[in-house]
Amino acid sequence: MNGETANMLLAIIPEIGMLVLAGTLMVLDLVWHAPYRRLGWITAGGVVVIIALSAAFARPGLAPQLIWGGMLRLDDTGFVFRLIFLAGAGLTALFAEGNENLDRHGEFYALMLVSVFGMSLMASAADLVMLYLAIETTSIPLYIMAGFYIKDQKSVEAGIKYLLFGGMTSAIMLYGFTLLYGFGGTTQIYMLAEQLQAGKVPLFALAATLLLILAGFGFKVSAVPFHFWAPDVYEGAPTPVAGFLSTTSKAAGFAVLLRVMVAVYPTQAQLWMTVVGVLAVVSMFLGNLLALAQKNIKRMLAYSSIAQAGYILIGVAANSTLGTTGAIYYLMAYLATNLAAFGIVTVVGKSVGSDEIQAYSGLSRRSPGLALGLLVALLSLGGIPPFAGFFGKLVVFGAAVQSGLVWLALMGLINSMIALYYYLVVLKVVYLLRSDVETKPLPVSITWKVALIVCVAGVIVLGTIFYPWYTAASAAAAALF
């Protein structure tokens, strides 16, 4: 084995690690028959190990480098995103534990890890074929995870809907890929731009490919008009899965969106900036306006996620290092925030047995800690300091202004105002309203406590101490341009 191969192997050690971990979990599931197996902790522990491995061995060099025959690009973008995915997976694993329907089935964790493996490849993919494979590797486990409660009609429905929608958009996207290959003559993402330029491909053709590809990516990030699956899937799927979907999977979608837009369509920047900007605006408005009407907290969070995707799209649309940095930072913040939110919904849902917003009445008395956690999460989503969402929004809006898209920033600000209303309403229910069961304490297992504390702390840290995360995000952003 020569040095180069060794290096390339080192570069994918994290991916190998994920597969190993997945395999281990499958084996454990088969072999270990104890009543309470703490597979979630094992997963989380494994994830931490993989993160360490990633930091140690898979560090990108000074310049981005294409490896494995141009299939993958070893750069900061992939590196940072991988860390994000792993964090999301670890936390979701912890949230899933303690939930018998999930915990009893070790394959849940294995599936999740496979999905993360796919996401990791998505973030580093430098070739269209690799990209498609990675997307599918990511999505298929997610379909299963969404429908995991096979006895629950809603969950099964969620899974099927997700599958159908995902399959459809995936097919559209694949068509777009084939067209790109047809026009450009190569599947190498980083050579396409040149080829397309040299081949004098007409703009409308490129626009067509753009729109087709955006279908797939838009689905992944739940942007309007590719969002229809989100509310039902989030509501029906097991809550930790909904959390995972809304954060990690979305981050993966953004990773590819950023990479492809910037790499493949640099000269059509005006076009796709506008398109993405429009997507952002409709996502924000639709998400926020529909969220206003929701009575179910999971659905509300689903629509909120759609709107949040809109904010991140603003960062993408800015087509600048600052914008991308903002988008990545936002994704980090959003990861911690939404996982915390869905985590709390998991806990409360299990205890109260309902996901209706009104069921949260008196939560501040039953469990002040959970109430505070929900406060942190919701206010971060609303963009209020000292929570991470504030800084994320600030950078993203600032980037839009810097790129001359002041109208987009304005739309973002307006939507922030609309969104704050429904977040505050939930807080009102939590803090003001009373309920009959408010004196009964709410059981929160250690696992959940740990996971929630990590998430909430993450929100606060990302909201106050920017330097390390910003540096990472901007390195990731710089690597794209």
């Binding site: 810097q402 304005l410 807080l427 009102k428 920017f466 910003y470």
Partner: protein, 489 residues
């Protein structure tokens, strides 16, 4: 390295609040004592800063600077000048009195005191910030404590409406200001948020004229500028007593201060261009606010509108852009802060005992609550601008400044004084004197904690009224700096 006293002042309430959140919910004594201890310490330190500020040298003192995110030009930069030092002290005073007044809160005192302290950190942070991002950060930090405290512990009938109206209204204002802040950031050649750098940035005149209204009015919404003031009466009235004190006493000054620090000082050309409008709106605030206060039948609404009216004087002083006007505004922010804190405290004491704020139903309360009565009398005299009290010391220079800009402003605004005298005396008589309704025969006098708060606030107002040199040289030094920035335009 110099002791980072400003950071300590700002973060003591935050740390104490977090500590309180970790305490068992039942230990009311620990919670209250921690809150009081933190508030006392903050007050003491802010007083030390007040006394330690070197008026002769002027400028920004007690500065601390740590680069926070150099990539974006954000730094952790604290410092105070002659205008912000009294405001820091004001924050300390009002938080301290707020804790005392809230001593007997029964419902979830842990969250109550924690959020109250967080609000304290927010206001103190704004006053001390010398970095624009940081200023905005602390400015927005106040959003969630305000909302939660009003909706959870406020007046049951109107708290949901009042809290949501206040929060959304103020949020809109701050988003407008944010746009302006971003414009300033991107417009500055150095791409920095540092206020000291931005003061020297020298923005083109057209730029200043365009962005000044967004920044100024965005922040001034929190200051209660007409016609964006209607959140204030509803919000203040719905809030629990300590929050009303903080809201009207300090938060409104945060808005005015931010408008000064960011809009006037960074965009002086824009300030000159838009001053006439601000002047006119300020006059409307003063007279309209006073007239509306005159016709209220709810005790707390009288005070709420009175705050709108008095903030109008601050705005007039700002808009004069001259030495006397700015001096007066600086002193008025402090004086009115203390006064309105006292007013709301008294209203709270009355409501806690009488369980109504309806003026026709009240009466003769002086005999039962003499301390509250005297407090209201002193507050009322300050409100009327009666010489011998801090209100006169603040209002006189504002008028002197107004004369130099527009005699009509001075003449119209002074009618506000007369209307204020009328409603103050009428409310005083109807609530505190006259017949005591039978149902109030048994009510008790105010508690020791209440008395301490009243005494502190009264002494401050009389002290400044008799000895203006306690505050005016300090504010003057801050004003001189502002004038130097304005003079260039």
């Amino acid at each position: 390295m110099q002791f980072p006293i400003l950071s300590v002042i700002i973060f003591i309430p935050l740390v104490a609040g977090l500590a309180i959140l970790l305490m068992p919910a039942g230990r009311r004594d620990w919670i209250r004592e921690t809150a009081l201890g933190a508030a006392s310490l903050t007050l003491l330190l802010s007083f030390i800063v007040y006394v330690g500020y070197d008026v002769q040298s002027g400028g920004y003192q007690f500065t601390e600077m740590v680069p926070w995110l150099p990539a974006l030009g954000i730094s952790y930069h604290m410092g105070v000048d002659g205008i912000s030092v009294p405001l820091v002290l004001l924050g300390g005073i009002v938080v301290f009195c707020g804790v005392l007044i809230s001593w007997r809160v029964e419902d979830r005192p842990r969250e109550f005191f924690a959020f109250l302290l967080f609000l304290g950190t927010s206001v103190l942070g704004v006053f001390c910030s010398l970095d624009l991002f940081q200023l905005f950060f602390f400015f927005e930090l106040a959003v969630f404590p305000k909302y939660l405290m009003i909706v959870t512990w406020g007046y049951p009938k109107t708290r949901e409406y009042g809290s949501m109206k206040l929060t959304l209204y103020l949020f809109v204002g701050s988003m407008v200001a944010l746009l302006g802040v971003l414009a300033i950031y991107f417009g500055s050649a150095a791409r920095t948020f540092d206020l000291l750098e931005l003061e020297k940035a020298g923005f083109p005149l057209a730029f200043q004229r365009m962005w000044f209204p967004l920044v100024f009015f965005g922040f001034a919404v929190l200051g209660g500028i007409f016609p964006f003031h209607s959140w204030a009466p509803d919000g203040h009235v719905a809030a629990p007593t300590a929050i009303s004190m903080l809201l009207a006493g300090v938060e409104m000054k945060v808005g005015a201060f931010a408008a000064l620090r960011v809009a006037i000082m960074l965009l002086p050309g824009g300030a000159h261009a838009w001053a006439p409008l601000v002047l006119a709106l300020g006059v409307v605030n003063v007279v309209y606010g006073a007239l509306i206060a005159l016709v209220q039948t709810d005790f707390k609404y009288v005070i709420g509108f009175s705050s709108v009216s008095h903030m109008g004087l601050v705005l007039i002083g700002f808009a004069t852009l001259n030495k006397e006007g700015l001096l007066g505004s600086g002193i008025q922010m402090f004086s009115h802060g203390v006064m309105t804190a006292l007013f709301f405290a008294v209203v709270g004491m009355v409501y806690d005992r009488a369980h109504t704020r309806d003026i026709p139903k009240l009466g003769g309360l002086f005999s039962k609550m003499p301390w509250a009565g005297v407090g209201f009398i002193v507050g009322g005299l300050v409100s009327m601008g009666m010489p011998g009290f801090s209100g006169f010391i603040a209002e006189f220079p504002i008028f002197m400044g107004a004369w130099q800009v527009s005699p009509w402003v001075a003449i119209i605004a002074i009618t506000g004084v007369l209307i204020t005298a009328a409603y103050i005396l009428l409310v005083l008589r109807r609530v505190f004197f006259g017949e005591l309704p039978a149902e109030y025969l048994r009510i008790e006098d105010v508690s020791v904690q209440d008395k301490v708060a009243i005494a502190l606030l009264v002494v401050i107002m009389i002290g400044i009224g008799l000895f203006p040199s306690l505050i005016s040289p300090m504010v003057q030094s801050g004003v001189n700096h502002v004038l130097s920035l304005l003079g260039g335009a």
